[in-house]
Each structure stands twice: as structure tokens, then as C-alpha cells.
């Protein structure tokens, strides 16, 4: 493999990592509170509010039902509004973030549901506020599960970021399509696939390890 090729691959890898890391960071900042809201406003929980819960739930479901490749194209005007352009790595992050937020929301909701209600009750009996219950009970108690769920989201984002090549997003997926497929370079195709496999394995391995070290059960 030529030095050119290696340079292309490493640039594409850099773009993929950049897209995934930044989108993941933004989506987590918004998605985790969304998940907390989904859980705590549901029936019998500390901020019970059936109407709000229904509205948020419906919006989350609506976004999640749009296939990523369509979402990407459908929100081009929004992407232009936020980034200024609809083409390029940074532009590709808008649909990535938008798709990841409701996904994270639902997964966090699932994690929080696993915390026994008795713990919430115990905290209430000590005079804890709803915010304290979220911060000191719900989130720490479900942290191992949250880490596992977020690992899944990162891996999904790696896959989705490859599709972002379709709108000129760059990254490994883009490289595989343009060189591997359109220019008949099976070696490039294979190289990108191998890199993606290693990347996903690495993320999963680190995620598992972190989740395990946090789990005191």
C-alpha cells in the first residue's frame, strides 16, 4: 500500500473520529437530560407529568422512525442554518447529533428504570429534592448501564458517520465509496472495513471495561 493511500486512510479515520466524538459529546449533553426527563415524568416517578411525558415521547419516536439516510437529506435546510453549509464533515454532524439525541434519550430512560424505586423512596425520606434524587441516586446507580448504552450509541454513530459520505461528509465511509467502489480499488475497501472493525472493537472493549469498573453490585 502506497504512502498516499496510508495518508488518505489516516485522514479519513481522523474525520470519522472527529465526527463521532464531537457529535457524541453534543448528543450526550442533550440526550442524557432528555432520558432523565422521559423517565422522571413517567407515571409514579418523581416528576410525574403524563402530558409532558406523552409529548416528549411522541417527538422522540417521530425522529427515531426516520431512517438516517433520509433524515440527513431532509434536514439540509436546518444544517445550512446551523453550520452555514450542507457539505463537509462539520455539516454531517448536524444529522448525526439529531439522530443520536432521541436514541440516547430512550436508552438512558431504560437504564434509569432499572434503579429500584426503594432507593428513590429512601432519598425522599431523607428530604432529598427531585434534582438531588436525579444527581445523587438515579444517575450514579445506573452509571454502569448508562456507560454500556452510550457505547452502543458510539458504535451506531460510527456506522451512521460512514453514510455521511453520501452528502460529502468525508470519513472512512466516504473513502470506501469513492475509492473502493467507484474507482474499483478493493484494497481500499478492505482497508477501510478493517479499520472500522478495529475501531468498533476498541470502543466496545473500552466501554465494557469502564462499565465493569463502575459496577459495584
Amino acid at each position: 500500500m502506497s504512502a498516499d493511500m496510508i495518508q488518505l486512510l489516516s485522514k479519513a479515520l481522523g474525520e470519522t473520529v472527529y465526527m463521532v466524538v464531537v457529535s457524541m459529546a453534543i448528543a450526550t449533553i442533550i440526550g442524557v437530560p432528555l432520558g432523565v426527563l422521559l423517565h422522571t415524568t413517567s407515571k409514579g416517578q418523581i416528576l410525574e407529568s403524563p402530558a409532558l411525558n406523552k409529548v416528549i415521547g411522541a417527538v422522540v419516536n417521530a425522529i427515531r422512525s426516520i431512517p438516517f439516510i433520509i433524515l440527513m437529506v431532509a434536514i439540509i435546510p436546518l444544517t445550512r442554518l446551523i453550520v452555514g453549509t450542507a457539505i463537509g464533515t462539520t455539516a454531517a454532524m448536524v444529522p448525526l447529533v439529531l439522530a443520536a439525541i432521541p436514541f440516547i434519550g430512550r436508552l438512558i430512560e431504560t437504564s434509569l428504570k432499572e434503579v429500584p424505586y426503594g432507593l428513590v423512596e429512601a432519598a425522599q425520606s431523607m428530604g432529598a429534592t427531585p434534582f438531588q434524587i436525579i444527581w445523587h441516586v438515579l444517575l450514579p446507580e445506573s452509571m454502569p448501564s448508562i456507560v454500556s448504552q452510550l457505547t452502543t450509541v458510539i458504535i451506531t454513530l460510527v456506522g451512521e458517520s460512514a453514510m455521511a459520505g453520501a452528502i460529502g461528509g468525508g470519513g472512512l465511509g466516504d473513502l470506501a465509496i469513492r475509492y473502493g467502489y467507484q474507482r474499483f480499488r478493493p484494497d481500499v475497501m478492505i482497508a477501510t472495513v478493517i479499520i472500522l472493525i478495529i475501531l468498533v472493537q476498541l470502543v466496545q472493549f473500552l466501554g465494557n471495561r469502564l462499565a465493569k469498573s463502575l459496577d459495584k453490585k
Binding site: 429500584p116 426503594g118 432507593l119 423512596e121 429512601a122 432519598a123 425522599q124 425520606s125 431523607m126 428530604g127 432529598a128 429534592t129 438531588q132 445523587h136 441516586v137 450514579p140 446507580e141 452509571m143 463502575l214 459495584k216 453490585k217
Partner: protein, 353 residues
């Protein structure tokens, strides 16, 4: 210390409203250990949750330490709850926090400075005997140790009331005993008012001063533990007590027909209850000496202690000339003990054991 005025609690369920509590009046004095016993579904868990307003009663008022909790808003209530510690059947410890951090938890919630937390948590660790476990996580502890952490955590905010919700129901008998001993110690040492919810009469007998029997959302019977034990009125109370105090007749009499009138060769069965000083009196010996014609057999006997008061129970059978048996019974009635005539029962013929 705690006053419940006509508490009602109704839940909405798909099949219509369910009345869990139907008007409960209860008064618990400062420093008392008050037991509330009932079968599952009797409403006892709902009742104890009404005391710290984890469940808001549908009707009625809850007054703790002179404050009407039912009239408070959420912010006032959170402050008031710091006066009321609570421990749970399943401990409800934070699995992600160490023993030390679990005990420190209510103090952290209250924004207590770090060094003050240390000053408070360390004696608590010592009080519950877990100094060496401070850095361990709940998953590394036994059930009894977990409940000790629960107790220390409940005491951290220096409450005046401790609510125990089936605190020993998930523990084995030996551990139960040690946890009950700890609760009794704390009650004495800290002058804490303790409310104990349980379905085990043993727990009531071990530590409680007073008891209320709750059945179907109402209080069936209440009073001092000694009174309830020695003179239960309601069938539900008798049932709870019978678990602890065996009332079985010996095989030779069991299943025989109990007659109201004497039959040839039948024994008059009498249940005797001795309370306090009278447990030491030689009542039976006196009776036997006075009525030598009456043959007395002892069918069941047991001496127990409730709140350090001796409490003896006995079932005797008497047979002989009818006038002598009647006179012996009359003699027993004059003595300082409680007697209850079961009836005349004949020995089985098939008792060649």
C-alpha cells in the same frame, strides 16, 4: 410525639378506588417503641409511609413533634423529614457508594461540610459496629450488616423518630435478634421514638412497648404489648399470638369433642395465665393440697417474658368427684391469675403411644 387523626388513604386502580386505610387514629408517645402489626395487604406499609408523607393521606392529619405535616408544602416537608429517619425491608442502600458514603448521604444532601460529616459518621459506624467496613460496598455485606448501615444512615441527620418498615423481614432469626437489640439500644440511648411495622409477633414481643393490630385498613385492637399478649380480644390478634404461643393440646385430648357439661370420665380443661408476680406463686400446689380428691394433669406449660414481665401459660386437666372439681375451679378463680375454661374433654381411647 406522633399523632394520627383519622387517616384515610384511597388509591385509584383500574377497577375503581381502593381504600387502603379507613380512618386510623393513633397516638405515639415520645421515646416509645410502637409496633404496628398486620397481615400483608392490611395497610400497614401505607400507614407508616403516611407518617413521613411518602404517601399523602387522602384525609386526616399527621402531626409529628407538634408539626402538622399534612398542611406543609413540599419544601417544608423536606425539611421536616430530616427529623424522621426510616429503614426498609430491602435496606435501599446506594450500591454505587461505600458504607461510609451511604451513611454520609443524608448529610451530603443537607450540604453539611466535609469535616463535620466525618465527625458524625465515625461515631455512627462505631454505634452499629461497622468501623472496619467503612470502605466496603453494600454488595460485600451480609443482610444484617446492610441493615446496620441503613440504621446508621437513618440516624445521621439526628432524627427524633425512626420508622422501621419490615426492617427484619428479610433477615434470618439470629440476625433479626441482633438488629432488634440494636434498635432497642438506640431507643434507650438516644431517647428516640420508634415505629415498627411488621407481620411477625416475635418482633413486637421483643422490643415494643405498645402495639396496634391493623386489619383491613382499620385498627382492630391496640394497647400495651403485655395486655395484648395476655388478653387478646380480636380473632386477628389471637391468631397472631397463637403463632408464638403454642396452644396445642396433647395428642390424647386433641380432636376430642369439647362438651359444656361433665361426661363420665372426662377432664375439665382450664387454661391458666400467670402475669408478673403471680407467675411465681405456688397456686397449683395449693389447689392440689386443698382438693386431694381431684386428679390434676398438666397438659401444657410455658414461661415467657414480655418486656421483662414474667408471663406463664398452662393448660391443666382436672377430673374427680364433680363437686370437688367445681370447688377447685372456684379456688383458682379466687387466685391472682387469669383462667379460661375450655370445657370437658374425654381422653381418646386410642392413645396407646
Amino acid at each position: 410525639m406522633i399523632k394520627l387523626n383519622h387517616i384515610e388513604k384511597t388509591y385509584d386502580s383500574p377497577s375503581g378506588p381502593v381504600k387502603a386505610l379507613k380512618g386510623i387514629d393513633l397516638e405515639i408517645g415520645r421515646g416509645e417503641i410502637y409496633g404496628i402489626i398486620g397481615l400483608s395487604g392490611a395497610g400497614k406499609s401505607t400507614l407508616i409511609r403516611c407518617i413521613n408523607m411518602l404517601e399523602r393521606p387522602t384525609k386526616g392529619t399527621v402531626i409529628v413533634d407538634g408539626q402538622d405535616l399534612t398542611a406543609m408544602n413540599e419544601t417544608q416537608l423536606r425539611k421536616a423529614r430530616k427529623n424522621i429517619g426510616m429503614i426498609f425491608q430491602h435496606f435501599n442502600l446506594l450500591s454505587s457508594a461505600t458504607v461510609y458514603d451511604n451513611i454520609a448521604f443524608p448529610l451530603r444532601l443537607a450540604g453539611t461540610p466535609k469535616d463535620e460529616i466525618r465527625r458524625k459518621v465515625e461515631p455512627l459506624l462505631k454505634l452499629v459496629g461497622l468501623e472496619s467496613k467503612a470502605g466496603q460496598y453494600p454488595s460485600q455485606l451480609s443482610g444484617g450488616q446492610k441493615q446496620r448501615v441503613g440504621i446508621a444512615r437513618a440516624l445521621a441527620s439526628e432524627p427524633k423518630v425512626l420508622l422501621c418498615d419490615e426492617a427484619t423481614s428479610a433477615l434470618d432469626p439470629q440476625t433479626t435478634r441482633s438488629i432488634l437489640d440494636l434498635i432497642r439500644d438506640i431507643n434507650k440511648k438516644l431517647q428516640l421514638t420508634v415505629v415498627v411495622i411488621t407481620h411477625e409477633m416475635q418482633v413486637i414481643k421483643e422490643i415494643c412497648h405498645k402495639v396496634a393490630v391493623i386489619d383491613g385498613g382499620v385498627i382492630a385492637e391496640q394497647g400495651s404489648v403485655l395486655d395484648i399478649f395476655t388478653n387478646p380480644q380480636q380473632p386477628i390478634t389471637k391468631e397472631f399470638i397463637s403463632v408464638l404461643l403454642s396452644n396445642e393440646l396433647p395428642a390424647a385430648f386433641r380432636g376430642g369433642r369439647v362438651e359444656k357439661t361433665p361426661q363420665p370420665g372426662s377432664y375439665l380443661l382450664v387454661r391458666l395465665t400467670f402475669i408478673g408476680e403471680s407467675a411465681d406463686d405456688p397456686v397449683l400446689a395449693g389447689m392440689i393440697r386443698r382438693f386431694p380428691a381431684v386428679e390434676v394433669t398438666m397438659l401444657f406449660g410455658n414461661l415467657d417474658q414480655i418486656q421483662s414481665t414474667p408471663f406463664g401459660r398452662m393448660i391443666i386437666g382436672m377430673t374427680g368427684p364433680q363437686d370437688q372439681v367445681d370447688a377447685a375451679l372456684a379456688y383458682l378463680r379466687e387466685q391472682d391469675l387469669r383462667e379460661e375454661v375450655i370445657g370437658y374433654v374425654r381422653r381418646h381411647d386410642t392413645t396407646a403411644e
